[in-house]
Symmetry: C2
Subunit: 355 residues, 2 copies
DNA sequence: TGATCTTTTTGAATCGACTCAAGACACCGA
DNA sequence: TCGGTGTCTTGAGTCGATTCAAAAAGATCA
């Protein structure tokens, strides 16, 4: 162990421990000569300040926990990067934890972070209404919900997922699709539900305004728009592929002509399955993903996707947290909501598709 | 702050602090009746053990730092996932830090982790020979190099990058390419250099064994294999695209017929640029990437790539670290090296390409 | 030179949990 | 009733850095 402590430094520099502490924390109040002796001793002994002891004494940590649903999802990597960047400017460390959308893992991480008395926790919860989150806040660890709206008990940053789903739905309907598949993840994930609600609302609006038929070729004979939803067990490339294979196996007349996937990983897997089964995208099957991760643009067929300000989500979350920590009394919880925007690429754009 | 401490619990349960500590750490030595009283008090007060104080006293943390070059690169996400999984089994927490290939950021993270007295550090260093790493180990924080071979001063897990580069080179040469471009990242990154050396060795072997001409159509008129190397400032999709654009701008006769990219992000960007400039892959330009991330298979043209056992790297690193921590005396540093393997997909496979 | 004010330095108390030698207690047989 | 044997419980001391009232050292001026 790095066993050199402040006491040894004090001895070698022939000063008291109080002075060493002052050099470390408020060097300007120490006389230059003494300061130099202490710095020399520190260097000679290779002293490294024990942050654990410091933290115990001052009671406040410079560490923030960030719990995400899936570290391997570039969406969260970008959120983390945004958070990290801003935290860094405030000399604060972000520790990234992966819940893998598993409530038990999430709970373990929450326990660990609370036990470590972190400054606060940013979390994309598996279940935002879990009493655990309220307890944390009540016991003094501020929590900011990320990519998930809070209800006033804590701060949150999110993107309007219903709007995102709606935009995607409107887009596909405008392109003439009359039988649409929604490929979701676990129902327990709020984002999945909201995106589903969003496309549902787009579909029902379409039914209301144009009861008789479609505006463009490709509409079904009866005119009404049909929406089917599948909820896969995970928001992963693998489960997207599984969904795609299931779709490909359907008889043509039952098969939807477009799929809206709850995230880009699902969409990429779905796309792979289409290619594997000889279905052309977007001609036989249009696809719209969600998150607009960098890989979406680089897919087999460049993927249309509902984009979110990923890094900004992370930055804003840190910002809210620092604000709360700085003035716990004055602080009013806020819910920041960003707008998603659809990036149309080839996977849903019939005009650019091969004949 | 969560201000309830062991003393309050002791008061409420009408026992001493020692007994509460025993309940927490060695419940079996406490009589069932007392144990229950203590557990009740803990529950009623919402007591959460202060890991900071515990750590200060026992001197050993249950946290491991993992510093990677780029959190947004799925390769590292997978390594992290592997590490996390094994650490979890040993009731240990992995905190993920991003150096973004910046030595200053790396240093800051190393400082922070050492100050926090973590159990150990897994790192993919920007510069493996940095004296800082040796200092850390000397002062008692074990270090395991990840994806980078050590020289006996510490443990390491790596994949043979020269072999990987060699395999990729041999593959491209066999496919008849006689003018090959190596797209690297910063020269300072060891992996980039090794992969370059690998393909260089493949090229020079090809020159030696077949000085007069190629084995397959497509060889240059003079027969020799030519290798050009570009070193981009980052291993990112963006810089891959920039490299691709630069290549596309070359006159056909000067343009290489194949590119070996130092990682898949570069390769995906490069691929996008080809598509944007109407160059067909693999017909006009074959591409081989590195890492075989999940997105490689889902690219515009499925990407050939040199695969690495990503999660195994992470697991093994944790394994080595835990071994060292468990028996610091007996421990002998080990260098574990895995073999890469080439996954051939459409991007480098002329036989499946369009006429 | 002594009084007064300012700048530095000191060191014991503190944060919260853990350790362990020592004490309290229960039970048994004589 | 007493000593012996195990089983539980106790609480002062400890980990390392910070704090802050108080002491010491230095500076200034009459």
């Amino acid at each position: 162990m790095s066993t050199t402590n402040i006491k040894e430094v004090a001895q070698r520099a022939r000063v008291s421990v109080g002075t060493v502490s002052n050099v470390l924390n408020r060097p300007e109040i120490v006389s230059p000569a003494t300061r130099k002796r202490v710095f020399d001793a520190i260097r000679e002994l290779g002293f490294v300040r024990n942050e654990v002891a410091r933290h115990l004494r001052v009671g406040r940590s410079r560490t923030v926990g960030l719990i995400v649903l899936d570290v391997a999802n570039p969406f969260f990597a970008d959120v983390a990067q945004g958070a990290d960047a801003l935290a860094d400017e405030h000399d604060t460390m972000v520790v990234l934890c992966n819940s893998a959308a598993d409530p038990a893992r999430e709970l373990r991480h929450l326990d660990q972070l609370e036990q470590q008395r972190v400054m606060g926790i940013l979390i994309t919860p598996v279940d935002a209404s879990s009493p655990r989150l309220a307890e944390l806040a009540a016991r003094g660890t501020p929590v900011v919900l990320v990519d998930s709206a809070a209800t006033g008990l804590q701060c949150s940053v999110a993107v309007d997922d219903r709007l995102g789903g709606h935009i995607a739905g409107v887009h596909l309907i405008e392109r003439g699709h009359r039988k649409i598949l929604f490929v979701g993840g676990p129902r327990s994930i709020k984002q999945v539900g909201d995106r589903h609600l969003g496309i549902m609302s787009a579909v029902s609006e379409a039914r209301d305004t144009e009861p008789g038929g479609g505006v463009e070729p490709g509409g079904g004979p009866g005119g009404g728009v049909e929406l089917v939803a599948w909820f896969m067990p995970a928001l992963s490339v693998t489960h997207g592929r599984i969904a795609g294979e299931r779709v490909a196996a359907l008889p043509v007349e039952e098969r939807p002509t477009a799929a809206f996937c709850a995230n880009d990983l699902l969409a990429l897997g779905f796309l792979q399955a289409m290619a594997a089964h000889g279905l052309r995208v977007p001609h036989d099957m249009a696809i719209v993903g969600y998150d607009d991760i960098d890989f979406a643009a680089a897919a087999t067929v460049p993927l249309s996707s509902v984009g979110q300000p990923r890094e900004l989500l992370g930055r804003t979350a840190i910002d809210l947290l620092l604000e709360e920590v700085a003035e716990p009394e004055l602080h009013r919880h806020r819910q920041v909501i960003f707008q998603p925007d659809l990036v149309v690429r080839q996977s849903s754009d019939l005009h650019r598709s091969p004949p």
